[in-house]
């Protein structure tokens, strides 16, 4: 019997987050194959609805990676991104869904491991909690 691979969606800003991902790839760092990357101009562009839609359409875990908060390319974009993630997390928690399934990370473009670590951590969370369906999730 083959193990089902979880679905993890990562929204990454095309500035520091994607730079970190590119640097990680070039440095030979690996991240879990269950992670799908959605590139966005800025993590502040990620709307709560985007995050919920990802879950609605099959994701088991969702994360956003933006610039460092005091070094955001668009000044306050990653702060906005974090607020959206927190808002959706509280909505999901209200509905009895594990809040660990959604997370915000910050990465510097020169930090080769930041993106890979975030991606692997969320893949680990998705595997530990199981699929977002009846019978899945923490007991």
């Amino acid at each position: 019997m083959t193990e089902t691979r979880p679905k993890v969606v990562g929204f990454c800003c095309e500035r520091h987050a994607m730079d970190s991902a590119t640097l990680a790839a070039r440095s030979g760092k690996e991240w879990d194959a269950s992670v799908r990357i959605v590139t966005v101009p800025c993590s502040g562009r990620v709307d709560g609805l985007h995050l919920l839609k990802a879950f609605e359409d099959g994701a088991d875990a969702v994360f956003v990676v933006g610039c460092l908060e005091k070094n955001c390319y668009y000044d306050t974009g990653s702060i906005e991104g974090r607020k959206r993630v927190d808002h959706v997390r509280s909505m999901l928690a209200d509905l009895g869904i594990e809040k660990e399934r959604i997370e915000m990370f910050n990465a510097a473009s020169t930090n080769a491991w930041a993106f890979a670590e975030a991606a692997n951590r969320m893949a680990e969370v998705a595997k530990r909690l199981g699929p977002l369906e009846p019978g899945g999730g923490s007991k």
């Binding site: 609805l49 839609k53 879950f55 609605e56 369906e133 009846p134």
Partner: protein, 234 residues
């Protein structure tokens, strides 16, 4: 504007759980401005409910709709087909919108998705505060444009009380003392004589204590003949 906030998602999920077809209807007026029941909030609520259903394996159909003003029958008519087709209407408008739909379609079950709070204004992005209680007898021409009925915890008409301290209210030190604010405003306007005038007891018969209120403008009402003509045209 009317300020409301969304009920906790867990409460909404429990309310809608027994129904197969749910029409979630928002409003583009006040509740859209206070980020509680506009188009985006309706879509997010529906999406969150679908995520919950995915986790629980529940089959439900949701219709996300928004009308211009849910408290006016003419706008609600635009979604009449969807309302009639649904097992449940979850109104994401203020209680007025929810009650308008419930009155128009008495056979339909209408639940509130929001908790209606107060008459207020946006103070800054993401912050709304109460400014009026709808007492039906406005006196802010005597109080520098600040309503003591809404903004004083004791609704005092002759203040401040002994609990006012450094411009703040004893009920909560984060609340500005309304009568301190009135004093400062009247001082700015050089009308401090008003603060010394004793205000008589308020006529509360115009307020909610007298039961449900109705305002009528006879010159704007339609006669029976006009109503028949309008119905015929529709």
């Amino acid at each position: 504007m009317i300020v409301a906030k969304r009920k906790p998602m867990g409460d909404i999920a429990k309310m809608v759980a027994p129904y197969k077809k749910v029409a979630v209807i928002g409003c583009r007026s006040c509740v859209a401005i206070c980020l509680a029941g506009g188009e985006k909030e309706v879509k997010m609520t529906v999406s969150a409910l679908k995520v919950r259903n995915r986790k629980e394996g529940r089959e439900q159909q949701f219709e996300a709709l928004v009308v211009e003003r849910q408290c006016e029958k003419e706008w609600v008519k635009e979604v009449e087909d969807k309302v009639k087709d649904a097992d449940l209407v979850l109104s994401m408008a203020c209680s007025l919108g929810a009650q308008t739909i419930a009155d128009m379609y008495p056979e339909k079950i209408v639940f509130p998705g929001l908790d209606t709070g107060f008459f207020g204004v946006p103070e800054e992005q993401g912050v709304w505060s109460e400014k009026c209680v709808g007492c039906g007898n406005c006196i802010i021409h005597l109080t520098g444009g600040i309503c003591p009925v809404a903004r004083c915890a004791k609704s005092m008409l002759n203040g401040p009380c002994g609990g006012s301290s450094n411009g703040h209210c004893e009920v909560n030190l984060e609340i500005e003392c309304a009568w301190y604010a009135i004093h400062e405003r009247l001082r700015l306007q050089k009308r401090l004589d008003l603060i010394e005038a004793v205000m008589p007891p308020k006529d509360w018969s115009t307020g909610h204590a007298g039961g449900r209120r109705t305002y009528v403008r006879e010159d704007a009402r339609l006669t029976q003949h006009q109503k028949k003509g309008k119905e015929g045209a529709q």
